[in-house]
């Protein structure tokens, strides 16, 4: 029988948002007068109070030894929930019970002081996270070994490279001796090799030591690697609590992630033809909020033509998140008459690695571009969900383009 580690009942968190109305004062004296008036008037006429519920009626139980991934888009309340669980802020309603010691890691290197040496910071940070001197002494060598900063232990951490700093900070936290560990997005820092090491360490902690872990991340990949169950939060409410694979798939299908169809605003000047809509979908015509890595996808562009256009060409470019153009494709030139058109760009040959990409679309007539869209459409290629089982891919982070070259081995 599994024991309960954390029990959350009816937890809500309310914030009051203050909307300041536009100050009438334009001058320094005017604004000074305004602040004096505010000081002494009991009626707050210039501010509007609005309630905002960051969390509403949260109920769940977590069993001992569970590794729980908390998933949701920005502003869903994930961080607020973790802050309440770790007693940093108090809930507005409801109660939480938990058993055992709890440590939370909402940030790497909380309380690190730049002027102190690595050694001093290990003790300071460890004690801030709730470790006793004995525990830190006992784990000291392990922490140093994990962080790989042996040589610089007596150097002030402000002289560290950012990589060293993060490694040291994570190393301290990874050696916490608590029954419950709360981790928020801290793996987002550091390079890929370090992230792998951290995920490995987290796996080791949870499997070997039977710790209960609550983990928030935007990387579905690391959530799936670390967690066995998940909670899906949307606008401060729990949508579902289930096994992690089901939760991740639910999240990806929820449309809570990427956008799949883009309505393009009408151009300011009258032109002969313009794009009305851009849709990202798979071959079967199902729209895709996130494109599973390695799968085929296509872009369908709807165009409204108001005047006949000679020598009409549509161009589509894919640009990486580092603003590197990856590929551009053009339609063949055609003379078209008035009406509605759709044009489809199929991406079935090149597999892009996971991440964010921008689509750039241009319409031209006689090589003169008359509509150009470059900042409206972003697509997400995701390595989560079923994509991980795609046998066309060996590794999802070995380059922008995942298609392998043709490789032959000949004996000479």
């Amino acid at each position: 029988m599994s024991q309960i580690a954390i029990k959350v009942e009816n937890v809500s968190k309310k914030y009051n948002l203050l909307h300041k109305q536009k100050d009438q004062a334009d001058s320094l004296i005017g604004s000074f007068g305004g602040s004096i008036k505010n000081m002494f008037s009991s009626k707050k006429t210039s501010t509007l109070n609005e309630e905002f519920w960051a969390l509403q009626d949260i109920n769940f139980e977590i069993n001992k030894g569970d590794r729980v991934g908390i998933i949701g888009r920005n502003g869903a309340g994930k961080s607020t929930l973790l802050k309440i669980l770790s007693r940093i802020v108090k809930p507005s309603t409801g109660s939480i019970e938990y058993y055992g010691r709890m440590a939370s890691l909402l940030e790497v290197g909380t309380g690190f002081h730049g002027d102190l040496s690595g050694r001093e910071n290990i003790y300071l940070n460890g004690s801030i996270l709730g470790m006793s001197k004995h525990e830190i002494d006992a784990k000291f060598d392990e922490i140093v070994a994990f962080s790989e900063v042996e040589k610089f232990l007596d150097t002030p951490v402000k002289r560290y490279s950012s990589g060293m700093y993060v490694r040291l900070a994570f190393a301290v936290a990874a050696h916490l001796e608590t029954e419950i560990l709360i981790v928020d997005e801290v793996l987002a820092v550091g390079d890929a090799a370090f992230q792998k090491k951290c995920i490995g360490k987290m796996n080791e902690i949870s499997n070997k030591e039977g710790k209960t872990i609550l983990f928030v991340s935007h990387s579905m990949q690391s959530v799936q690697k670390i967690c066995n169950t998940g909670i899906f939060l949307q606008k401060g409410k729990i949508i579902e609590q289930n096994t992690i694979d089901k939760i991740v798939n639910r999240y990806l299908q929820s449309g809570d992630t990427g956008q799949a169809s883009f309505d393009i605003p009408l151009p300011n000047e009258p032109i002969n033809g313009y794009i009305t809509k851009v849709i990202i979908e798979n071959k079967q015509g199902q729209i895709l909020h996130e494109i599973p890595v390695g799968s085929d996808w296509r872009v369908r562009i709807l165009i409204n033509v108001t005047q006949p256009i000679q020598h009409f060409i549509v161009g589509l470019g894919i640009v990486s998140s580092f603003d590197t153009p990856i590929r551009t494709s053009w339609s063949l030139p055609e003379n078209i008459s008035v009406g509605n058109y759709e044009i489809i760009f199929d991406n079935d040959d090149v597999m892009l690695t996971s991440g964010l990409y921008k689509l750039v679309i241009g319409l031209s007539s006689h090589v003169r571009t008359f509509q150009y869209i470059d900042d409206l459409i972003t697509i997400i290629i995701s390595d989560a969900g079923d994509a991980a089982n795609n046998n066309r891919i060996i590794n999802t982070d070995s380059g922008l383009i995942l298609n392998p070259m043709n490789v032959t081995l000949n004996k000479l």
Binding site: K90, S95, R101, H113, D115
Partner: protein, 283 residues
């Protein structure tokens, strides 16, 4: 077959505002108290050329400025007598005012910790005191050396000194805690604090002795208010421990000022505990 029974701590988080003084928790975090205190001490003079020497030079300069000024202003007493009297006040005042300052800033300065991790928050103001105490001890040694050189050995009343210092720290901690809690929400505190400390400097027998103030042509109520100021008896008690004579001792005012001190402690603790759980929301 064997059964292991392990004691597992249960913690309950509720939405109530109430929090209480949890001494056993504070004791569990004594390690943190130690490292936070040491942090403040060891970063104090980091990246200065003469480093630790500053904690000798700073009080020395203060003693010289106010000591010499007092000789110039007041010619009625022996210069050495006046010099030592004022410098005793100056070094003790330095402890009291820096304690108010450090405690007042302790929460806002550590806001990055407050918003990222749970800890018994009273640790932060408490641990900010050590820096002040260490500075004071150094200043005190300098003062005693000067005293022996200029006048001779202090009186036997010196044994009361630890009590007076502790009493002073309790009052300054209480005042500081009040300011610290208020400053979580209102950063105005940061701007008003230097003025408050400056006013207290003149309203307490640091430079202007109680004898001098009470002889001034002031309305009676002003003199009463002056004597209710806990700093008056605190500083005079400090001087008493060194010279063996008490400036204008009045048992009634003495009792009241002690009462005010402990009332301040209770009020500030209450205010702090009532508000403690919301710190992260406001800071």
């Amino acid at each position: 077959m064997c059964i292991f029974i392990t004691y597992i701590m249960k913690t309950v988080i509720t939405s109530s505002d109430k929090s209480f003084l949890n001494l056993s928790e504070l004791r569990r975090y004594s390690g943190l108290f130690k490292y936070l205190s040491l942090r403040d001490v060891s970063v104090r003079y980091k990246q200065t050329k003469i480093g630790f020497a500053w904690s000798i030079i700073r009080p020395l300069i203060n003693i010289l400025i106010f000591g010499c000024l007092s000789i110039l202003v007041d010619k009625t007493q022996l210069p050495t007598q006046k010099f030592l009297m004022v410098s005793a006040g100056v070094i003790f005042w330095q402890l009291l005012s820096s304690a108010i300052n450090e405690v007042s800033n302790s929460l806002t300065v550590n806001s990055n910790i407050l918003t990222k991790v749970y800890l018994p928050k009273l640790i932060l103001p408490l641990s900010s005191l050590l820096v002040c105490i260490i500075d004071f001890l150094i200043a005190f040694v300098i003062f005693i050396l000067l005293f022996i050189f200029l006048k001779g050995l202090p009186t036997w009343q010196l044994i009361f000194l630890p009590i007076v210092i502790l009493y002073g720290l309790v009052f300054c901690f209480s005042l500081g805690l009040l300011f610290a809690t208020a400053s979580v929400k209102f950063r105005d505190v940061k701007f008003i604090l230097p003025f408050i400390i400056q006013i207290l400097f003149y309203a307490s027998p640091v430079f202007l002795s109680t004898e001098f103030i009470l002889k001034l042509n002031m309305p009676e109520f002003a003199k009463i208010i002056y004597q209710l100021n806990p700093f008056v008896y605190m500083l005079n008690a400090f001087k008493y421990c060194i010279y063996g004579s008490f400036d204008n001792f009045n048992i009634l005012y003495f009792g009241i000022s002690i009462g005010i001190t402990f009332l301040t402690l209770i009020v500030s603790l209450k205010y702090f505990l009532n508000f403690e759980k919301s710190f992260a929301d406001y800071i």
